[in-house]
């Protein structure tokens, strides 16, 4: 019988304690963010959508080889100095934001941005083409690019790492250590879509 009343007492007191805690929270400021109006500041290392700077990219294929889900598509024509890149696309349907492509990129062209909010209505629009539609191909070789006036001198403090063999295959023989350059061309959206950025990108 004593246990019976002890149970009742315990039930009532623990319930009241719990209710005190929840009641206290009424006065606390809510911790949630009102998303589209307030946004969290992403930390430095945040891995958002992958971005490729086409001025630096020399189509060495390492990122495509290293990608665990094969979401990077690189196509090029020709050999040696005459090699031209014809396509660089990333399929964000597949991308898993693992950052393996960025840390092995020897030109530093591929980076993780802080962008995370790209809702679309059709998955096919999540395939991003980074080549400029007005410019059909991009020369891959460094010397060719210098001839075209695309390059400035590389920064000295940055060591030029030799392209390491990617996971299972050696990189293409044509890869040249490409120096850094100011971005002359901006990336472009999925095929056939003119965007305001396009013109600006080419002129830069």
């Amino acid at each position: 019988m004593a246990q019976y009343f002890a149970d009742i007492y315990e039930a009532v007191s623990s319930v009241l304690k719990g209710m005190r805690i929840t009641f206290k929270h009424i006065y606390k400021k809510p911790v949630t963010l009102q998303f589209p109006d307030e946004r969290q500041v992403m930390p430095e290392r945040y891995r958002g959508f992958v971005h490729n700077d086409m001025t630096k990219c020399d189509s060495c294929n390492i990122c495509a080889k290293l990608c665990p889900v094969d979401c990077i598509y690189i196509e090029s024509e020709g050999k040696g100095k005459a090699r031209m890149m014809t396509r660089y696309a990333i399929d964000y349907n597949k991308c898993i934001w693992c950052s393996l492509c960025t840390e092995n990129c020897h030109t530093g062209s591929i980076t993780m941005s802080h962008d995370y909010d790209h809702s679309v209505y059709d998955r096919r629009t999540l395939v991003y083409e980074f080549m400029d539609p007005t410019q059909e191909t991009i020369p891959c070789h460094r010397a060719t690019r210098i001839d075209m006036g695309w390059w400035v001198e590389p920064k000295e403090d940055k060591p030029k790492p030799k392209p390491k063999p990617a996971a299972e295959a050696a990189p293409p023989a044509e890869t040249a250590p490409a120096p850094e350059a100011p971005p002359p061309a901006d990336d472009k959206p999925a095929p056939g879509t003119p965007t305001p950025d396009d013109d600006k990108g080419v002129e830069n």
Binding site: V15, T22, M42, P43, E44, P68, S99, E103, N104
Partner: protein
């Protein structure tokens, strides 16, 4: 089922056994059910509220990850290990790189080991918070869920600052960790978070949930797992410790920097009922949060200087021929990797022994003779993650 069989299930002494037997009702609990923590399906045979047979059916989340392991190289595979236990991905990373380093014979710098401990323990706290929260939710307490997710959010923010991802970090690499500590402020923030967790939050959860009479009534003396059952069913982690067995891979099969630190292994003591009931399994996790806080504090306060990676990030990783079984203590229990190398950059075979997979099997025995509500408590207290069961 004859009445004698029913009595054997433990309900006999409570006079719950009905005199008139009726047909058993087959009940599909899941794969879309609020209390099965994902896409687990439990095929129940019930008579009224009492369950006579439990048949777990899984595979709804199967990705054949072990086949993928044979197709991608060791470093790429780290990315996939995040996806096993997506509530404690750091622990999964840790388990895999530990196995790989054991096969390779690779040493890891001190600083790397310390950072691994910090990351894995933060992840463990986050996982336990989710576990406790969803267990509370299974018991019908909605508010603790939100409070615990609030703290988990803090952890995710901290881990995001060091690893770059919110949920899938890909932080550990063979031979160390991917990034160093971002700045000193991060260390301060982690320490202050740990302090807050210990002094304020855990007592709050205890008052709100652990010592609530209704919660105790729901969980104490419910679905008791005996140590013998736990051994033969291969239960590990908080499930085993809840049964009163003091076993923890971090102490008994040490790896990484854990032997250097001072921490305790909480075990279930049957405070509210029998040893090994749902409340014990629940409360062991609560105590482990405190121990993880201790570990984090020690690891950060003694964080040595020096390199944090032994292998340069861009270097491919090769492992020799041979087979190892390496195990670590993930948030759910013993997470083991049976890894066979073939001398190249790709695993020949990588079997993942996931703790949830082994822990779940115990419902086929313990779930019998319980009420449907108690089965929910049992599944909740086992803390399963379907990403790890189905792989």
């Amino acid at each position: 089922m004859a009445t004698e069989d029913v009595k054997a299930t433990g309900w006999a002494d409570q006079d719950h056994v009905p005199e008139i037997k009726s047909e058993l009702l087959e009940l599909n609990m899941g794969p879309q059910h609020p209390a099965t923590h994902g896409v687990l399906r439990l095929l129940l045979e019930t008579d009224g509220e009492i369950v006579y047979k439990v048949t777990p059916v899984m595979g709804y989340l199967h990705r054949c990850a072990e086949k993928i392991a044979e197709g991608v190289n060791y470093k790429q595979w780290v990315v996939y290990t995040d996806r096993f236990d997506y509530l404690a991905p750091m622990c999964c990373n840790h388990a895999y790189v530990t196995a790989l380093e054991k096969l390779m014979g690779q040493e890891v710098p001190e600083r790397g080991e310390h950072l691994r401990v910090v990351a894995a323990e933060l992840s463990r706290i986050a996982s336990h918070l989710v576990s406790l929260a969803t267990f509370g939710l299974d018991m019908g307490a909605f508010t603790p869920l939100l409070y615990m997710f609030r703290e988990r959010e803090e952890i995710l923010n901290l881990l995001e600052r060091i690893a770059g991802g919110r949920m899938l970090y890909n932080y550990m690499v063979p031979g160390g960790v991917r990034y160093d500590v971002p700045d000193d402020k991060w260390i301060k923030d982690v320490l202050s978070f740990v302090d807050m967790m210990e002094t304020k939050k855990v007592p709050e959860y205890n008052t709100l949930l652990s010592y609530n009479k209704i919660f105790i009534e729901r969980t104490a003396n419910v679905c008791v797992i005996s140590p013998e059952d736990a051994f033969t069913f291969g239960c590990t982690g908080p499930v085993l410790r809840g049964s009163g067995v003091s076993f923890d891979c971090r102490r008994d099969d040490p790896y990484g920097a854990y032997p250097k630190f001072d921490f305790e292994i909480p075990v279930g003591q049957g405070q509210m009922g029998a040893v090994g009931d749902c409340w014990d399994r629940y409360f062991v996790r609560m105590l482990e949060i405190e121990q993880s806080c201790r570990l984090i504090r020690q690891a950060l306060e003694t964080l040595p200087d020096g390199p944090y990676q032994a292998i340069e990030l861009k270097k491919p990783v090769k492992a020799p021929m041979g087979a190892v079984y390496s195990r670590t203590e993930s948030a759910k229990g013993e997470l083991g990797h049976y890894l066979i190398g073939d001398g190249g950059q790709t695993a020949f075979r990588n079997k993942v022994r996931s703790p949830s997979f082994c822990n779940l099997q115990v419902v086929t025995k313990v779930g019998v003779g319980q009420m449907v509500s108690d089965l929910v408590a049992l599944v909740g207290s086992l803390d399963i993650v379907l990403g790890e069961i189905d792989r």
